[in-house]
Symmetry: C2
Subunit: 254 residues, 2 copies
């Protein structure tokens, strides 16, 4: 068997964030699989087949890519950001564990990328400069009570919180409920960052406070960072503010 | 003022992980600042001055780079991994907030990179495929009680935990104490990953269990990932195992 599956992190979208390792794997692939808008970011190359699928079809997409690679092809499965953070790498592992024995024998390589929270943080300062948690608000795949418990634990113990997938058409109320929950733990002036399309031409980054944050500021492509009690904002005349969490944080918790 | 400070994430070390944006900023710099071993990874270029400093001197290094840029130079301050995760971006923000007004007027750009936990995770599967926390075990900059409280909160609420800076010469016992603490919350068979120099020629990645994990397996350059109750190991004949945390995690907590 000479096939190979590369699970490739594209980073935040702009080509300046694509690592040479990822670019090489895309170039070498005979077949590309991925969510349509991510595939559209990959330059076309002659002789390469493309297999776009819908956002919700991670499991089926992983299975199709594994089966194709097992037939001897060099396959790239593209993922936005980093494949290991709420993206395709876990879906591939799930498929391998549940799939036929030959999938375990396949050469699988996972190529990391700059995930959204790192890209957004870099554009606004260093909000993730101290201990932080990374939470997906999607409750398609876990009970909402679990999300709430994790928000309580994270905010109560002094973690900064990066929120992926705050909102979707099928989950309209969760992000508002999460903000309400976090207001129980954190002061009104806690900095909150909304980031969208970081580093791309349509980038939108904004800073507000937990008191003023409104769920309508986020959509499914927004990454939200909720500060801790230690997170600070530096106002700069004529420049955007810097939001950062100091390396030294003396206070223990909420 | 025409100076500029770029805080540049080098990624895990191998050039295949260096983004084009980071490579460009390094190429354009007139002066480079950084911890010696990180500076050594940057190809030499004529006309570029180099200012290496010790690991512990983040604050002074940030100040020196800011002052140099304020004199009109294009300065790059290099950081391992991503500058925003336990690295130089927060030190720069701290220096700007405490420093002279002209530092707030300076053009500062932070260039993200692949941080160690993403590189290690990619080499072993998808252990960060569900909600996770990122904690530095250094208590130079925070009280140990704060570390313990965060470990309790994270493990108790079902987060996977990525640990940076587990050990140093001045902190010999903390990582062992952290493992002991986590054993109160998590079952003995919980997967634990030790990763060092991910993606480099001297890479060392190993998988064990929380029961078998020994503090002597880590040094200051090791990244440790502690699974949650949902984290799984796929054994593969003739290949290294895959460690992953499924996207769907039904159980709520320890």
């Amino acid at each position: 068997m000479s096939g190979r599956l590369a699970v490739v992190g594209l980073g935040p979208g702009d080509a300046r964030y694509l690592t040479p390792q990822a670019a090489e794997a895309l170039e070498a692939a005979e077949a590309l699989y991925g969510y349509g808008p991510y595939l559209d970011r990959v330059p076309l190359r002659a002789g390469q087949s493309r297999h776009a699928s819908d956002n919700r079809e991670e499991g089926a997409r992983a299975q199709a890519a594994l089966a194709h690679a097992c037939r001897g092809a060099r396959v790239a499965l593209v993922s936005g950001g980093d494949p290991g953070v709420f993206a395709m790498a876990a879906a591939v592992c799930e498929a391998i564990e549940a799939g036929p024995p030959e999938w375990r024998a396949l050469d699988v390589i996972i190529i990391p990328g700059v995930t959204a929270m790192l890209a957004v943080a870099a554009r606004i300062g260093a909000p993730l400069g101290h201990d932080f948690c990374t939470i997906s608000l999607s409750d398609n795949l876990k009970p909402w009570e679990s999300v709430v418990r994790r928000l309580d634990a994270a905010a109560g113990a002094g973690f900064v919180i990066a929120i992926y997938n705050p909102v979707s058409r099928s989950r309209p109320w969760q992000f508002g409920a999460a903000l309400e929950r976090l207001r129980r733990h954190l002061p009104p002036e806690t900095p909150v960052v909304f980031g969208r399309a970081a580093g791309r031409s349509n980038e939108e980054i904004s800073v507000t406070t937990l008191a003023a944050a409104d769920a309508s500021q986020a959509d499914m492509a927004t990454l939200v960072i909720i500060g801790s009690r230690a997170t600070r904002v530096i106002v700069r005349a004529g420049r955007s503010p810097l939001v950062y969490t100091p390396r030294a944080a003396a206070e223990v918790s909420a």
